[in-house]
């Protein structure tokens, strides 16, 4: 069976179908994270006391993680641009760095979680840590998902470049849109949880 509009644009949307699909998915993700952010704001406003993030959490580690994720967005878009310039070697390099940045983010996050557990800070400790672990945990799961997809496109999935190059470029663009969304969520999470 032939899947329609994987390369050519759909006459009604003006886009290939995967791009419409990813934006619909990202819209649902905005609702998911939006609901959690709203819960966080309401819990914080309603609480008589609320600890400052910078007193409880590790800002230097989170800052490093922010830099790592911004760098990964740059390498992600560079991998896509490399494919458009038909430079497959550069694509492999940039996509490999993107995957590596995602892994570095997770390792740093694991250290951060480990330190919290050592100090007996768990989601059940108070509402602050409940929202911290829920938001960063859900974000971490999204990073894991992105790493799996990107690693697939770096490895076995990259075979498509030889048979259907334009379709492969579109796949990388869609993966890049998802990865940018995940990074953007972190850009909002960092000041909300750590600095306020």
């Amino acid at each position: 069976m032939q899947i329609p509009h994987t390369i050519e644009h759909h006459p009604e949307t003006g886009l290939y179908n995967a791009k419409v699909g990813i934006w619909l998915f990202l819209a649902s993700e905005v609702m998911l994270f939006g609901a959690l952010f709203t819960s966080y704001i309401l819990l914080r406003i309603g609480a008589p006391t609320w600890p400052h993030g910078w007193e409880e959490l590790n800002i230097p580690l989170a800052t490093v993680n922010t830099v790592v994720l911004i760098a990964s967005s740059v390498t992600m878009v560079m991998s896509w641009a490399s494919l458009m310039m038909k430079d497959f070697k550069k694509y492999k390099m940039y996509m490999g760095i993107t995957v590596l940045c995602g892994l570095i983010f997770l390792v740093i996050k694991a250290f951060e979680y480990g330190a919290k557990f050592e100090h007996h800070h768990f989601p059940s400790t108070n509402n602050f840590f409940a929202t911290y672990f829920t938001l960063t945990g859900l974000h971490g799961l999204h990073v894991i998902g992105g790493i799996i997809v990107n690693a697939y496109f770096w490895g076995p999935g990259s075979k498509m470049w030889k048979t259907e190059p334009q379709r492969f470029i579109n796949r990388i663009e869609v993966a890049g849109l998802y990865w940018h969304f995940v990074d953007l969520v972190w850009i909002f999470l960092f000041p909300s949880l750590y600095l306020l």
């Binding site: 886009l15 934006w23 967005s73 878009v77 641009a81 663009e173 890049g176 849109l177 953007l184 850009i187």
Partner: protein, 68 residues
């Protein structure tokens, strides 16, 4: 919206937050006198400027790619 447009949006938001972080660290430095916070403020400010410069260069490089 293409990856190009989303990337520009992402860089714009990141640079705005970088300036925000710089302001936060600077305010924190004035309160505590900790030079590490001054260094963080400088780093954030420079990063914000760097991101804007990168964004402009990126836009020039990918002129031929459509925004949608």
């Amino acid at each position: 919206m293409s990856l190009k447009s989303f990337h520009i949006f992402f860089i714009l938001v990141s640079s705005l937050f970088a300036f925000g972080f710089a302001a936060w660290f600077l305010q924190s430095y004035f309160g505590s006198g900790d030079f590490l916070k001054l260094a963080a403020a400088t780093f954030s400010g420079v990063s914000g400027v760097g991101l804007i410069v990168y964004g402009i260069r990126f836009l020039k490089k990918l002129q031929h790619v459509r925004f949608l």
